[in-house]
Subunit: 375 residues, 2 copies
Amino acid sequence: MAISSNPPADAVSSSEQMAAFSEALESRRQLVYNYLDNWPGVTSFKPRDIYDALFSYVRQRGKGLRPSLLLLSCGAVGGDEAQAVPAAAAIEIFHIWTLVHDDIIDRDETRRGHPTVHAQYTRLAREVMDLSDTESAHYGTAVAILAGDLQQSWSFGLLADSVSRGVSPEVTLKLVQRMAGSLTPQLLEGEMLDVQFALAPPAGLSEDDVLHMLSRKTAALLDYAAWAGATIGLGTHRDGDGLAGKLGRFASLCGTAFQLQDDLLGVTGDEGMLGKPVGSDIREGKRTLIIFRALATVDEEARRLILSVLGNDKASSESLKETVAILQQSGAFEYVRELANSYISQALAILETIPESDYKTLLRSWASFLLARKY
Amino acid sequence: MAISSNPPADAVSSSEQMAAFSEALESRRQLVYNYLDNWPGVTSFKPRDIYDALFSYVRQRGKGLRPSLLLLSCGAVGGDEAQAVPAAAAIEIFHIWTLVHDDIIDRDETRRGHPTVHAQYTRLAREVMDLSDTESAHYGTAVAILAGDLQQSWSFGLLADSVSRGVSPEVTLKLVQRMAGSLTPQLLEGEMLDVQFALAPPAGLSEDDVLHMLSRKTAALLDYAAWAGATIGLGTHRDGDGLAGKLGRFASLCGTAFQLQDDLLGVTGDEGMLGKPVGSDIREGKRTLIIFRALATVDEEARRLILSVLGNDKASSESLKETVAILQQSGAFEYVRELANSYISQALAILETIPESDYKTLLRSWASFLLARKY
């Protein structure tokens, strides 16, 4: 029951454009990771466990979609991408610290096929330090809390380093102020709501609540990345044409569409692709829009089945499969897919309003890449 | 067996000076807390649980020793304290986030007579949300992680707000860079070492290891606060006379002396004063300098007793009292007290090298106040 991503026609970049984009993505990813690997301040990260934990997700190398968005947005307004490399590195580390702490909160044991930071140090405490299970888990959590804390600080340090690449102190401070005053509060609001929603009865929440949570948890960081790149590129924090705001809005809409797609894949994707059983998001009790939509439209019997399986880690595979079938029949998948597509269309319409350039083409491909990913 | 703080003669401010200092401290504390209470960005702190958690320790009002140090250091180099208020507020919030996360790691349930953030939300989850004990503890930890994360970001935002008080963008960025690149790594190194030392056999550690940990965990923040205040006051990040460095070193030495005194009080202070039983630091396994000094000097039998009680939460009150008596006889208390006093003397000698002013007198009183505190 793998789902076709079925994006609007104008979202599709040609295969030639996608090949050019792959190359552009890879070169920017390398720029950013080289910058991080050679950052002189890393010698101050001690002791060994903190250092290793700090670089754990960095060494695994993400795709670099967030830093690339920042660099391309800088180029799209006519800026020099080299000036934006420290900020791009900051965005990658900022994203990583939120993952490290989120993995503690979500009790996730693996990420991209590797143990999460807290899981890794829990194991080390048990196997090398010979601690009890409880003490090992506590040690693992402590290391992950401290490593994430240090990464957050590091991301502010990287951002401030923009001055070393010729970004003015005024613009650099503006980047710091918006990260501190807007990005972090939004993102942490999203994380907190995600935790609270999973504990709340679904009847107490609305579709708008769920969409608000998604916009905070996923879209805010992409919004910031595009805005920051454009702000560096414009070299001023007064942006008469509103280009930075437009690029931020483009990225934000792509981010919400991405998250809706992620929710679809979490229910419908096959086990081999996702690395977790079909419907596991339902068993985990994730308050996705699919669930809300279905609950609002199905009959009482179907409703009871969905609620009996949602967040019930003892739910049988049969009842899970039955639930997925009900969700499918309810039209909830189609509804969420169309909503995601409408966000993509809006995003691309906004992108159309910025001046033509090779960067604009790359940003269109960036959106295609983000929204056509395979697990 | 309460210990006299017994400071070097030149450390003692007159009672008249201390009265003037109390007034100066209170007015600065109010300046900083008013700034925090009226900070426009607080409306972005959502949802309710995060907002309440964020202000939990802020509402309890610390003595304001760290922000006052920053403001007085600004004045001591001839600067305008009003310019340093956002940075002073940043230091208070920075200190608070480290407490919120440290309390999770140390599993402390109370702070200043109130529940710690994670303990408070654990209770709320159990009593209001009706979660199981395990789930309540996890919810409490999640809220405290996210609240501390947001506070860290807030402290960078407050620091960046220094520009709004006329601090130049260059100096403001320098404050951000040193907080990110030096203060946080040092402080988190101290926290990580503290966790690791408590799990290591005492024989594998040296006195220098313990002093290094203390300098990171406690002294680094005071060093930064004094340096930052002076840097704002000087209005430049080139400080020809090295005044900012000197004030930082003064504060750092006071910080280490304070921590050594704290360790003495943790073993010898009486129950009424400390709010915890005599010797509880020993039962908790804290790797204090007192323990190291005693282990290095006592005979084998006494050594065995100390090691049998250290970190043993089942140790009887009798064996604890016996251990405290052995520590006393070993001369370890005297050794640590003299070491603390030598740090205070060095700190005051450095303070003497800066130009005379009322601020300098207040800084001397600040040191007396810090080091003569009663629980």
